[in-house]
């Protein structure tokens, strides 16, 4: 599909993480170059099963619109830092935005 006129392509990185690490990931993402993010409460099932505890709450889903470079950095960081021990997944989607400079 063609991009709508006047719009630019960027990446949206989505991270679903068990809540115990979610505040850390929010800081990580900004440090790695994201200019903002949006989070929602989420629940889920995956391969790892158990989480810390109900008292900590369930998962947090974080979405951030970034340049492809920053997206690459974030995914790399997630892989190195969280994938092994924590219940975390991350992926990217292509998005089209107006006024792309807000996200750079």
């Amino acid at each position: 599909m063609e991009p709508l006129p006047g719009m630019e392509k960027l990446k949206r990185v989505t991270i679903v993480a068990e809540s115990v690490v979610s505040e850390r990931i929010q800081e990580d993402v900004l440090r790695l170059g994201a200019k903002g993010y949006t989070t929602t409460h989420a629940e889920g099932r995956g391969s790892r099963g158990v989480r810390a505890s109900e008292w900590e709450g369930h998962n947090v889903k974080l979405e951030t619109i970034v340049t492809p470079e920053v997206a690459g950095k974030i995914l790399k960081y997630m892989e190195d830092k969280y994938f092994q021990h924590f219940a975390v997944i991350a992926y990217t989607i292509d998005v089209e935005v107006i006024r792309a400079k807000k996200y750079r």
Partner: protein
């Protein structure tokens, strides 16, 4: 009262009945859910309320009768990893981090088990020291720290211990207990009076709803029994009994009442499933929550709540008679 009478007295109180009802809800696959925000609100209420009552009781108590029991309780809790770790590591053949993680949970305490123990005493009409809620707050942290230190020592890698101590102290459960204590101490009897219709009177009712949820939470993990292996299941049933005896005896030596010693014993016997898991998950991410959570939440917690409490009370008769 016979042992059976005690069990019955405990099981038939509304909070424990609600706990069993929660287990039933899972068994019949009911779509009943306590929303997460409500669960959190109930926890905040219970923790703050315990703290405030404990604080006001400390202010009301004469002299410093609470200092010795408090010191002993903190010490006991701090020492616990020294024997639970080896048992888990060498008898149970858990890895270093897993053994440390489980030890940390059993060296901390369960707030709700504490509440069930005091509910039981009230139904029995047996008195106990008013400062006990303060004990809960103080017994949550030391054992976790010692267990982490131990793992760090043995595995040789320097875990971010200071970070962990900060995490657990600023963690919501400890923060609310200690914060409540402060409010209770500073506000005193008079402050308590104003908030009594909210923080004291409806307390047991709120506990019912909370235990309804805990029943569902615990029973959802029952199926993990298989995964943790027979050793941990036995550990989860036996260790609390040994710990209870130690705790009751310690209370006895400190000159506490039978009721108070029983509560101390129950606290020692209980395993944390709130402060400890959050801390351990971050400090020892390679430890398997499947072990420590299942043991603390799905085995020891329901055991203490149903059988343990009347049993420990009966056992306290060995020292007091």
């Amino acid at each position: 009262m016979s042992a059976l009478d005690l069990v019955q007295l405990n099981l038939l109180s509304p909070p424990i009945l609600c706990f069993l009802l929660g287990i039933l809800a899972t068994l019949v696959k009911s779509d009943l859910r306590i929303p997460e925000s409500i669960y959190q609100a109930l926890s905040i209420y219970l923790l703050l309320s315990i703290g405030i009552k404990g604080g006001a009781a400390i202010m009301a108590s004469e002299g410093s009768a609470f200092l010795l029991p408090m010191g002993v309780a903190v010490l006991l809790t701090g020492l616990m990893p020294l024997w639970t770790y080896p048992v888990l590591r060498y008898l149970g053949r858990l890895s270093v981090v897993d053994a440390g993680a489980v030890a940390a949970h059993y060296a901390s305490v369960s707030v709700v088990t504490f509440l069930a123990a005091t509910t039981f005493l009230q139904a029995l009409g047996e008195p106990y020291e008013g400062f006990l809620p303060a004990l809960v707050a103080l017994m949550e942290v030391p054992g976790i720290v010692v267990a982490l230190l131990l793992v760090q020592r043995i595995s040789g890698k320097s875990a971010p211990l200071l970070d962990s101590v900060k995490t657990v102290l600023a963690g919501k459960s400890v923060f609310l207990l200690l914060g409540g204590l402060l409010v209770g101490i500073i506000g005193g009897e008079r402050g308590l009076l104003k908030v009594e219709p909210f923080f004291v009177a409806p307390f047991y009712g709120v506990l019912c709803i909370f235990l309804l949820e805990m029943g569902m939470v615990a029973s959802r993990r029952f199926e993990d029994f298989g995964k943790v292996g027979p050793f941990l299941v036995v550990f989860g049933f036996l260790m609390p009994i040994i710990h209870a005896l130690i705790g009751i005896y310690a209370g006895f030596l400190c000159g506490m009442t039978r009721g108070g010693s029983f509560v101390l014993g129950t606290l020692v016997a209980s395993a944390s499933y709130i402060a400890a898991p959050a801390t351990i998950r971050l400090a020892l991410p390679e430890a398997n929550p499947g072990y420590y959570l299942t043991a603390a939440l799905a085995i020891t917690f329901p055991f203490n709540l149903t059988i343990g409490i009347p049993l420990y009370y009966a056992l306290s008769g060995l020292f007091f008679s």
